[in-house]
Symmetry: C2
Subunit: 429 residues, 2 copies
């Protein structure tokens, strides 16, 4: 971990820069697979599943029996843990439902918004060694609360054609309507285009490797929306003398274990605290199964000492972290200063892991600086907010003359006419 003491404010911008990501040029491959899916449907999806996942699958759709059987394999204590997380995530996301508020902007002119679910959503869950069933909770629960009619899930099969049972159990628990044992570009292509067995969806959610990311970008050209731009996960921790350096080190490591390209930033108003955290980092790293990944990540990481905690928050706003932890007893006093972050963890017991799994907030968040302009996934991500207006004859008489003047000034005569013809008919009554 690189230690930087009191950098001048001119250096902040460059300290905030993320390392350039290796660009993998897979556009052509994505186009080829999408084109084949468009032509051959399921057959193409199965072909590429054989090719990339080394799995021969007869049906892309996972059967109800297989899902039922998977649930039997999950230990009771893990089931209870997942259910506790589900309950918290449900409460928080249900609180994001918007109440209808009718605003009479002018007498006789009523405007309001109503939310409607996005009909069909697709959730992508990566495969590999770690089964990310927590992401099934984070995406499936708000989709269900929103009322999405079809909530389909794709996850790559292992060599025997199976999906990890914890993913299947969680999918069933949250009410996923169909699970497909497919992954990678071919899964995103199937969701974007549709096949004989796979629903074409309106929006695709979920994390993935560079192939999945490129495929999600390509899906945009098929009229499908996506959740967020992709990027490596990151945490920024602000510490003062009231933090516990061991806790802080553990939080930094929980981010570092995600991958060598994860971003970990430590800020403090105290060099002593910084050194204590760095020491704890070294000690704790030794015991980790993903030690090598962690060490690579820490090589790119920075510990920066600034004059005050206010400066630390200002630096953080410029960096725009996905996760921001304020490890301080007075964390709450800095909330109003925070302008840019994905999710914020206040105080010494609010660890990022809590938000990753079970506090109730969503863990699908803007990274790579996108917190400057994007929010994390929430109930809003699964609905459209439609505006309505109801204008009475009297209402149109109140605002009509203004509309006529503005439309005429924009040289849109037919826009003006739509008002004029109504006002005339009212004058003739």
């Amino acid at each position: 971990m690189q230690k930087i003491i009191n950098p001048s404010i001119n250096q902040w911008q460059s300290l905030c820069e993320r390392p350039a990501l290796p660009q993998l040029d897979v556009q052509e491959l994505v186009q080829q697979i999408f084109t084949e899916i468009k032509r051959n449907g399921d057959e193409a999806v199965k072909k590429y599943t054989g090719f990339f996942d080394d799995a021969l699958i007869e049906n892309v759709k996972v059967s109800a029996e297989a899902i039922e059987a998977a649930a039997q394999q999950i230990p009771q204590d893990l089931k209870q843990a997942i259910q506790l997380a589900k309950s918290n995530i449900e409460q928080f996301h249900a609180s994001q439902q918007e109440q209808k508020k009718v605003i009479e902007t002018t007498p006789g002119v009523e405007c309001w918004r109503e939310s409607r679910p996005i009909d069909r959503v697709g959730i992508y869950i990566p495969g590999g060694s770690a089964p990310l069933f927590s992401t099934v909770l984070m995406l499936g629960i708000p989709a269900k609360i929103a009322g999405c009619k079809e909530i389909v899930l794709c996850s790559p099969p292992d060599k025997n054609g199976n999906i990890n049972p914890a993913i299947l159990y969680t999918a069933q628990l949250v009410g996923i309507t169909a699970v497909y044992a497919i992954g990678g570009i071919q899964a995103i292509g199937a969701l974007a285009i549709g096949t004989e067995s796979i629903t074409k969806v309106d929006k695709i959610f979920g994390p993935g490797n560079q192939y999945v990311t490129a495929a999600k970008q390509a899906a945009l050209n098929y009229g499908v929306a996506i959740d967020l731009p992709a990027g490596p996960s990151e945490v920024l921790v602000i510490t003062d003398a009231t933090c516990n350096p061991d806790f802080v080190a553990a939080d930094l490591l929980s981010q570092a274990e995600h991958g060598a390209d994860s971003q970990v930033i430590l800020l403090s108003d105290s060099e002593g605290v910084t050194d204590a955290v760095i020491k704890a980092l070294q000690q704790q790293t030794e015991a980790l199964p993903r030690k090598e990944t962690v060490l690579k990540c820490l090589q790119n990481s920075k510990a920066i000492v600034l004059a005050t905690i206010n400066d630390c928050v200002n630096f953080s706003n410029l960096y725009a972290p996905e996760h921001l932890i304020i490890a301080s007893d007075s964390a709450e006093s800095f909330v109003n200063l925070i302008t840019t972050a994905g999710s914020v963890f206040l105080g010494n017991y609010s660890c990022e892991s809590a938000g990753d799994y079970a506090s109730g907030t969503n863990h699908t968040l803007p990274t790579n600086g996108y917190a400057k302009s994007y929010s994390g996934v929430s109930l809003d991500s699964f609905v459209k907010k439609i505006t309505f207006q109801k204008i009475s004859a009297a209402g149109l008489q109140n605002i009509g003359p203004a509309i006529e003047l503005m439309a005429a000034a924009e040289q849109l005569q037919a826009h003006k006419n739509a008002v004029t013809i109504r006002l005339k008919s009212l004058n003739n009554v």
Copy 2:
């Protein structure tokens, strides 16, 4: 206008298809201009302004004096009309502010969201014959309510280097912080990259031609967000025996005058009403200054008769119109059936023009079928909603064991450790 009587439900999907848009391949041009802006800043922007707009500008930024002088040129009645529209748009968008709701998902675990403005936003207003000052209202007002620090506006200059005074007046009225007399690819490039005089922004809003659209897409690669995918404007009108065919025809024409590629759909449960509207269309078209454009648009347009108004609403949901007018005295009884639209106009006096200018709703809406997954521009478009969590020691004791189990099952040992180290320290107290 093509008339279709009682199409079978199998035909609905193809009836909903938009005509394919001519793809203009301007990617290379966009890349070239962006690269030059990155290298040469203002100089490159001025060069392309000379090239595309035939205007030699010394300063890209419009002076305070020029803005002041423009305001003097606007007639008093138009100023009052713009101010009435502003007041209504302000009221409706201010009502979209979210109240902070702290949810205690488990004792000791508090979660909430807080909105923060996107710091820097750019608004693009096209040039050409019609000065779209109404779009300045629709984008500038919510940006101001959100609290965006920098709200900059770009609009192409005329040959004398000037921007239409109505645009400048409205920009000043709503509190735009800087106006640049630049347009097209070079304006979007300047906003996405930044130059000596032009702020690099976090998000770009506003309509534009194919060059602007391509440039907005390219801006995404510079970490900048955009408002909505682009597409031609469209209206779908549902009519029954209680509609006024003259009003309906006027509404269809107000859409048709936008351009030959505008989409206009008429639905009814009555062939008689349909014929009456078509007749009124023919009569009203004759008097329009944009008659030729309107006639081209109507060639691509459809009038479809279905069995019931319920069927009409179902068809509309499939079509996903940008604007939906229900021209019926009982319009409100269909609101709950509507699942997909950008903005909805209820009853015989709620013309689309009202929402385009002055009712209070936003006129920047998802088109080309994107209403399936996108909402129109609202206050939400100018803020990030940051999640916060505050977990007490007792709170972590309540949810910590569940987090440990889930993290272990996902093979993320460091995630588990972040909880374990805290729980251990609490047990040792």
